[in-house]
Symmetry: C2
Subunit: 232 residues, 2 copies
C-alpha cells in the first residue's frame, strides 16, 4: 500500500483551478426556456426564438456558426469566454434530435445540428438507446451514453481534460445535474419577455435539493446575465 501525501495548499490550489460543470440557458421572465408547441421546424416552440435574439448578432456566436462579422462588447466577451472554457458538452436526447418524436431514437437520425454543428467539441448525449458515435465536421463528435448522467459526466470530464464541461440543455438535463448536486455553475440569461407557456426551466425540480448563491450579475441591453454557484 502506498500513501500519497498532499499538502492542504496543493489541494486548495487544485480546487481553485478545477474544471467545472456548468449549465447555461436563456429563460423568459416567466420562467420558460422554450415556448409552447415545439416541433421539428420550431424546436424552441412558439416565441422561443425571442429568448435567443440577444445572442444571434454577436461576433463570437456568428464565428461558431461559420459566419463573419457581428457585434463585440460585454455580451460577446461573455459568450466567447464560455465557448473558450468548455472542453466537452453533455446534452439531452431531445436537444440532439430537435425535439420529441418517433425520429428521436432512430439510429439513422443524424441530429438536428447539420453537418457542421456549432459545438466544436466532444458531445455526450444522454439516451436510453445505444448507438455508435457520430462524427461531424468541425470537431463535433456525438457519443451516446445510456448509463445515466454520472457516466456521461465522467466521459465528458475525461474528454475535456482540464477544461470545463457544459450541459448544453435542455431543461431536463440541466435539472438532473442540479438535483444530483453535480453542477457547479448555473448561468441564466434572463430575457424580458413573457412566453405564457412552454417548457419551464425548473418544472418539477426537487427544490429542497438545490441551494444557489449569486455569484455575478451582468446587465446588457435586452438581457440580464445571472450567474449562480450551486452549493453542495
Amino acid at each position: 500500500m502506498t500513501t500519497a501525501v498532499i499538502s492542504p495548499t496543493a489541494v486548495s490550489e487544485q480546487e481553485g483551478t478545477m474544471a467545472k460543470l456548468t449549465f447555461e440557458i436563456s429563460m423568459s421572465l416567466d420562467g420558460f426556456v422554450a415556448g409552447p408547441n415545439p416541433s421539428l421546424d420550431q424546436p424552441l416552440g412558439e416565441g422561443g426564438e425571442r429568448l435567443h435574439e440577444w445572442i444571434y448578432g454577436l461576433a463570437s456566436w456568428r464565428r461558431r456558426h461559420g459566419l463573419e462579422g457581428g457585434e463585440t462588447g460585454p455580451d460577446d466577451e461573455l459568450v466567447e469566454a464560455s465557448f473558450a472554457n468548455v472542453g466537452a458538452i453533455v446534452m439531452g436526447r431531445r436537444m440532439f434530435s430537435g425535439g420529441e418524436g418517433p425520429w428521436a431514437d432512430d439510429p439513422r437520425n443524424e441530429g438536428w445540428w447539420g453537418d457542421d454543428p456549432p459545438f466544436r467539441s466532444p458531445v455526450f448525449v444522454l439516451t436510453h438507446h445505444a448507438r455508435e458515435p457520430l462524427e461531424k465536421e468541425g470537431g463535433t463528435t456525438f457519443t451516446f451514453v445510456t448509463a445515466g448522467v454520472e457516466a456521461a459526466l465522467e466521459q465528458a470530464r475525461a474528454a475535456a481534460g482540464d477544461k470545463d464541461v457544459s450541459v448544453a440543455g435542455g431543461a431536463s438535463a440541466g435539472r438532473q445535474y442540479l438535483e444530483a448536486e453535480l453542477l457547479d455553475e448555473l448561468m441564466i440569461h434572463l430575457v424580458p419577455v413573457l412566453l405564457g407557456g412552454g417548457v419551464r426551466l425548473f418544472d418539477g425540480i426537487d427544490a429542497a435539493r438545490v441551494a444557489l448563491e449569486q455569484s455575478r450579475v451582468i446587465e446588457s441591453p435586452g438581457v440580464t446575465h445571472l450567474d449562480y454557484r450551486a452549493v453542495k
Copy 2:
C-alpha cells in the same frame, strides 16, 4: 369650444415628472411570489418568508414597522426611495385579509396588518364586497373598491397627488394592472431560492398583452433588483 394650446416642451416636462403606477414584488428564481399551502398563520406559504429575508434587516423597512436600527446601503436606499415616492397603494383583497378563507370578505375583518400597518398612506382594496373605509393608526386608511381595477387606480391617483401609486400585491392584482396596460414599472426582487410550488407571479397572464423593457438592474448580496418599464 375652447382650445388649449400646450407647448411640446410643457407636455414633455409633464410626462417626465408624471406620477407612475408601480408594482414591486419579491420572486424566487423559479417564479413564485409565495410558497405552497398559504394559511392565516403563514400567508406567504411554506418557505415564502425566504423571499423577503433581504428586506427585514434594512433600516428603512424597520423604520416603517416602528423598529429602530438596521442596515444601510444600496438596498436600504432603494427601499427608502420606493417608500418615499409612493402616495397611495392598491392591493388585492387577499393581501388585505391575509389569504383566502371565509374571513376574507367578512366586514368585521380588520385585515392582516394589525393596528399600525406599515403602509402609512391611503390603501385601496380591490374587492367584490362593499364596506365602509377602515382607518388605522399611522396614516393607513383602507378603502374598499368594488368597481374594478381602473376605478381603484383613479381613486388612488387622486389620493396620491403628484406621487406614485404602488400595487402592493398580490400577484393577481399586479397581473391585472399589467394586462390592462395601466402599469408603468414592474420591479422584481429576484431571490436565488427555488420554492418548487406556490403562487406564480405570471401564472395565467395574457403574455401577448405585455411588453417589457429592462430599465435597471442592481445586484445585491442575496437578491437582484430587476426594474422593467411596461411598454404600452
